[in-house]
Symmetry: C2
Subunit: 135 residues, 2 copies
Amino acid sequence: MSQGNSCVSVVGQQARACTVREALDRVGGKWSVGILVAASQGPVRFTELERQVEGISRRMLTLTLRNLERDGLLHRRVYPTVPPKVEYTATPMALELYESLVTLTAWAERHRAAITEARAAYDREHADWTGSRAD
Amino acid sequence: MSQGNSCVSVVGQQARACTVREALDRVGGKWSVGILVAASQGPVRFTELERQVEGISRRMLTLTLRNLERDGLLHRRVYPTVPPKVEYTATPMALELYESLVTLTAWAERHRAAITEARAAYDREHADWTGSRAD
DNA sequence: CAGAATCCATCCGGATACTG
DNA sequence: CAGTATCCGGATGGATTCTG
């Protein structure tokens, strides 16, 4: 998730690829989308996220939240109460990003079966026989 | 890039997030998009890719190519000549994927400045002072 | 030319324990 | 409640060498 990806001195259509990566770097993380989705419905608290985003660890939740906040995709609001209360909300920019992702979702759904089969075929083809027909 | 992400037993809108991840897992890799872009113009040879996708190592090129091929995003054609010649071509499915990414590219371009500034602001805000004004 | 194999540094991410 | 800190295994990815 660290950047440095400046897209400078990149020529040809690879420049476009570089721009895509700018977006992917922000959403490519294992948990980013899950959090974004949850936060796009309205303010969500830390513990709510911990439950909604299944399988996430406390650590990764914190880290991913920080990154998203840093990129301006999430807004963090702290209520100075005791016990503390923190709410995360998706920013307009994040909502737009989420909209951009629906195209991708559609693609994934359209080709889910094809991909699964392509993999199966590939694995069948490249099964390392090594002559061992041991069973 | 290893899967296992079956999206089973995922409820609510998190199921959607899971579907998005299916797509992202295939393109989220550091080099996938670059290769896909290069191969979408027509057949490309190994060494051509090595040059076009700037900064990629031989190893990662091979690995990413294998993954893309396995997912049915690239077609690999071998010419049994000497020296050998191998051409990679993006499949229709990959071209559709690339189209889906255009939306994302647009998003990245629209908000590039905003993100850069959000980061700067965040870093300014969270600069760890620790009281050390040591200069 | 198009890779496979090996070695090694770094990063990602999970588990656990502690805190204001 | 909402984190932070630490430890650690596995994955990611670069550099280099060898080969059909």
